[in-house]
Symmetry: D2
Amino acid sequence: MFTFETVVRLQHTDAAGLIFYSRVFDFAHAAYEAFLDEIGNPLPTALAAHPVVLPIAHATADYRAPLRLNDPLQIELWVETVSTRSFELRYRFLKEDGTLAAGVRTIHVAVDSESGHSTRLPDRLAEALRARQARGT
Amino acid sequence: MFTFETVVRLQHTDAAGLIFYSRVFDFAHAAYEAFLDEIGNPLPTALAAHPVVLPIAHATADYRAPLRLNDPLQIELWVETVSTRSFELRYRFLKEDGTLAAGVRTIHVAVDSESGHSTRLPDRLAEALRARQARGT
Amino acid sequence: MFTFETVVRLQHTDAAGLIFYSRVFDFAHAAYEAFLDEIGNPLPTALAAHPVVLPIAHATADYRAPLRLNDPLQIELWVETVSTRSFELRYRFLKEDGTLAAGVRTIHVAVDSESGHSTRLPDRLAEALRARQARGT
Amino acid sequence: MFTFETVVRLQHTDAAGLIFYSRVFDFAHAAYEAFLDEIGNPLPTALAAHPVVLPIAHATADYRAPLRLNDPLQIELWVETVSTRSFELRYRFLKEDGTLAAGVRTIHVAVDSESGHSTRLPDRLAEALRARQARGT
């Protein structure tokens, strides 16, 4: 299981004293990028010039327990499905005591950056994702 | 139909040249707050001290068309359901030419800020939401 | 004087109940982009491919009065100086009662996006900035 | 010297392909909070209810070298001055090869959260800051 550790900082909270709801998507994406680094497929730095981009087509969050300033967070990320042209990731946000604070899903689709149309996942990425999926991550 | 107008600015974009995915949730929440203002139930400024808070329990976004720097956006917001202890809002993000760029759902639950437990929606808010729902907004 | 109106929303606040300090820079940049639109020099949408980019070399904020959730803000923006290769903007953040909440300065430099070196401001932009500066904006 | 390590992620970049300027203030504040944790004075979680708050009165950033997606960052933080009612922190943002990417200054003032007036820094915090300052951090 790939895990990513972070802490809820002031900039993630709001005047209700808890984390602002969209910040869990920011945290999930940071975890996703660290995961891509680990599987040897980091986001290309010249993304806008890259032939294939991987925009998110669908994102969901379920909020289960309040997250507050200074809360350490462990984010578990795994590959739920890998298709020819898309993949789905799942994330569990765990507090220090193991409480599930939030669950997130993101569906990423491969898009040809010239035409704007859906395309096949790059082979190297698809293989790396399937290898992690087979390992249960 | 309640509508909220905004523009995609540099801070909402990322190195892929499009809007960063979690920014649609930021826009949706700004629209929600403007809607609360309009129905006479603005978010209280001393939220952390308020007896009832309305955290989001579930949030979903479907991304349909790319949003780029300088794109004007019209966000339509309507009340989908109002229950005793929660309500659901829907949002449609429309580009200038009427293209649907994204759809968002948020489910808000009433929570007693002392006990942390689910509670009834404040009457005034529930009535205002039902009135808008009846009007088809 | 160019003015830009906005409202402090939940996403701009933090658990101290006030606006998070870096949000004034986000607001200032949104005002700057609206100003560029007005003077007929909007930020190009394909920024990463543009020959001249205008990164910020220096930014300062002075915080004078607290900004809270729901506070309407009027941001006044003017051109302080225009040089061959850079320009400086100033911003005043005014609350509804006219109180000065914050002052911001940003210095923008023209950079050749190929070489990464400083270059001349595009003529059209320099003229538009000087015209506004002459008008006292 | 207190150091804080992070990585530029997609959410920190913009359509120009570089880090969005206000994100350095977000990074600086995360470093500041990690520093407060280390010196035994973490930001209180119930900030809005705390007798003394420490808003930022002044913030400055100088941008020296471009920061791009995936750039690892080392942020060095030190206490520049400690006064009766305020303190100043400095931050240097270093890239992997030691290049200075940005310098930041923040001035924090102690404010009585009831009256909204300036007050003395809490003794424990002032002592911890002076101890670090004496060590050259």
